[in-house]
């Protein structure tokens, strides 16, 4: 069981997705039970993976028992286990929110949801760069389905932009893979790390070009400047449960950058060491500032939440491009925090839309029972801005504390100024939505009839997400210790190479 754990995290959601397709003729209740059973097992698997990875050992799983240089490998270190755990934890409130009623309106929702989880887990676990492409495609294909199922009009239009953009990015990914294989003759990430270090001087420029192209691909997925223009519109129009799950998808791009570039351009890379980081730092700072301005300019709460995804992407890119283990550790902590809190904001937007008919902030409207959405919004806002005492503060503080002296000016200024912009944007949103209220009687009766409180699973889902944030605050010490261990592991690419090369096939022998 424990030897097959890495592949189980991919195969299990696939099996559940297939079974849920067969159950589609049955009632929605049966489908929900199936989806929940699948998810509970997935969370249990993710927990045991995290415990296994926490021993510090890098698990290499040879698919089909082929040696690593020939076949596809899965590779589990602390970083992948952390990402898988965050995904599994995020999936719980997303599924809960969807069970509030969206899953009735969107055909195949439950099957697509499981396939999405399979793609995301696969991307986090694979140790083969072509396999990473395949899992990217799986998670994107499922995301197209989740985005479009049950949608029409405007959502179809942003869906077209999203899909066209992602197909173009995937094509670029394939081009880099073709060039990489042609140049270096391998697709295993750890093996490539060795070969990049031994590259001949005449191919050096080509390797740099390919690595640069690959960086463009990952940054397009992670929504880094100037490749983020599709994001606020798409996420803003996605149904709340789906938008909340999509928050982890930009983190897949970030994870890929961290995984691939720390492995390939770490201390094995010779004079290519440190490639990519000097590009990412200015790009991260620019993304952060523009996203904060975007948050200030947003008229709708859901567009504001979309820009907050970008704010967290920019912050994370700044942290990882400092290329220091303690900054990466802070980034991993901040990643978990920002995923949960931004996801909760997408759900709060939906709640506000129910209580108030629209999430537009430039009209004065009455709001039904503002206490629940208002309180949830306040907690989420404190956390997302990075005010004490919640997890956002700890994450940002840990990050800022690790900035080396030569970058303090740029990084501190951009992070603190952007936090201030987000603070203004959130305070303004809260004021407009919950305080600047028109009396109930003065409102249009047609709109009055549309206001309602929503279903309990939707409220509980938000509370669960915010509780994760509070748990991260209380358990900051163990979480940070784990993140530091993960970052320490990433800083030594040679142990990955040793683990992958040292893993002999079990049955086939040598």
């Amino acid at each position: 069981m424990s030897t097959h754990l890495p592949v189980l995290l991919i195969v299990w959601p696939l099996l559940v997705a297939g079974s849920l397709l067969l159950l589609e003729r049955a009632s929605i209740k049966v489908q929900r039970i199936g989806a929940w059973a699948g998810l509970v097992v997935l969370v249990a698997l993710a927990i045991s993976l995290l415990r296994q990875a926490d021993s510090g050992e890098i698990t290499v799983y040879l698919l089909g028992d082929w040696p690593a240089r020939l076949g596809i490998t899965l590779m589990v270190d602390r970083l992948s286990a952390w990402m898988v755990m965050v995904t599994a934890l995020l999936a719980v409130p997303c599924l809960l929110h969807a069970c509030g009623g969206w899953d009735r309106r969107a055909p195949h929702f439950h099957a697509l949801f499981q396939l999405q989880l399979m793609g995301i887990n696969g991307a986090f676990l694979t140790g083969d760069i072509f396999n990473l492409f395949v899992f990217f495609e799986i998670l994107l294909a499922a995301s197209y389905g989740l985005l479009l199922s049950g949608g029409r009009g405007g959502r179809i239009r942003v869906g077209f932009h999203y899909i066209a953009f992602n197909i173009a990015a995937s094509t670029l990914f394939l081009i880099t893979l073709g060039l990489l294989y042609g140049l270096l003759g391998s697709l295993n990430m750890a093996e490539l790390a060795v070969r990049i270090g031994q590259v001949t001087p005449e191919s050096r420029a080509l390797v740099q070009a390919v690595a640069g192209l690959l960086l463009v691909v990952f940054c397009a997925k992670a929504a880094l400047l100037p490749l983020y223009l599709w994001l606020p519109g798409t996420y803003g129009r996605a149904p709340a449960a789906v938008a909340a799950l999509f928050v982890i998808m930009t983190k897949v791009g970030l994870y890929s950058v961290l995984r691939v570039y720390s492995l390939w351009f770490g201390d094995l890379a010779g004079d290519l060491q440190g490639f990519a980081w000097e590009w990412l730092l200015p790009a991260g700072i620019a993304t952060l500032m523009l996203a904060a301005l975007g948050a200030l300019s947003a008229v709708r709460l859901r567009i504001l939440a979309g820009y907050l995804v970008l704010v967290s992407a920019g912050t994370l890119f700044i942290a990882i491009s400092l290329a220091r283990p303690d900054a990466v550790a802070a980034a991993l902590y901040y990643l978990a925090h920002s995923t949960f809190v931004v996801a909760s904001l997408f759900m709060i937007t939906e709640l506000v839309r129910r209580h108030r008919v629209t999430d537009r902030m430039n009209v004065v409207l009455p709001i039904l029972k503002p206490l629940v959405p208002g309180t949830l919004f306040t907690i989420a806002a404190i956390s997302v801005i990075g005010l004490p005492p919640l997890s956002g503060f700890i994450g940002k503080f840990a990050m800022l504390a690790t900035v080396p002296d030569e970058w303090v000016g740029w990084v501190w200024t951009s992070v603190l100024v952007s936090s201030f912009f987000v603070l203004v944007a959130m305070v303004r949103a809260g004021t407009k939505l919950f305080w600047d209220i028109k009396p109930e009687q003065a409102d249009d009766p047609a709109r009055k009839a549309k206001r309602r409180t929503g279903h309990w699973p939707e409220r509980v889902a938000i509370i669960v997400l915010l509780a994760y944030g509070i748990a991260l605050t209380i358990a900051a010490a163990p979480a940070m210790r784990y993140a530091q261990a993960a970052a320490g592991q990433l800083a030594e690419p040679s142990i990955y190479v040793q683990s992958v090369r040292g893993q002999a096939p079990q049955v086939r022998g040598k």
Partner: protein, 117 residues
């Protein structure tokens, strides 16, 4: 042969990017298709162009790249073809649905001229 393949890839990419940047969803889809053709040729060429050699091992022939062509790029191309085919189907359905819903083939749903009129 190298120059022919390289020019074919270059022309397909150029035409693909031109079409991708146009404002009609049909043109965009054609552009994405041409780009994926170019990519397939490029991956194929990563295994080096050698005529008349099989990608599978046969008994009696020394299993080295001198006697065989590298099978991995061919397997990669196969995967890439399947994925791009499926994605083209998805986006095609989406374009048709968008045209039905928004009444226009424009990528933004409406023509700017129509809005002005």
């Amino acid at each position: 042969m190298e120059i022919a393949l390289a020019s074919a890839i270059g022309i397909l990419v150029a035409a693909g990017i031109y079409l991708l940047l146009r404002a009609r969803s049909f043109d965009v889809i054609l552009g994405l298709t041409l780009l994926s053709y170019a990519t397939n040729l490029l991956i194929f060429s990563a295994g080096r162009l050698v005529p008349g050699k099989p990608p599978v091992l046969r008994s009696g022939i020394d299993p080295t790249l001198a006697n065989h062509v590298d099978p991995i790029p061919q397997a990669l191309v196969l995967t890439a073809i399947v994925i791009s085919f499926a994605m083209t189907a998805v986006i095609l359905v989406l374009a048709m649905r968008g045209r039905a819903d928004n009444g226009s083939d424009h990528v933004d749903g409406t023509e700017s001229k129509e809005r002005d009129r």
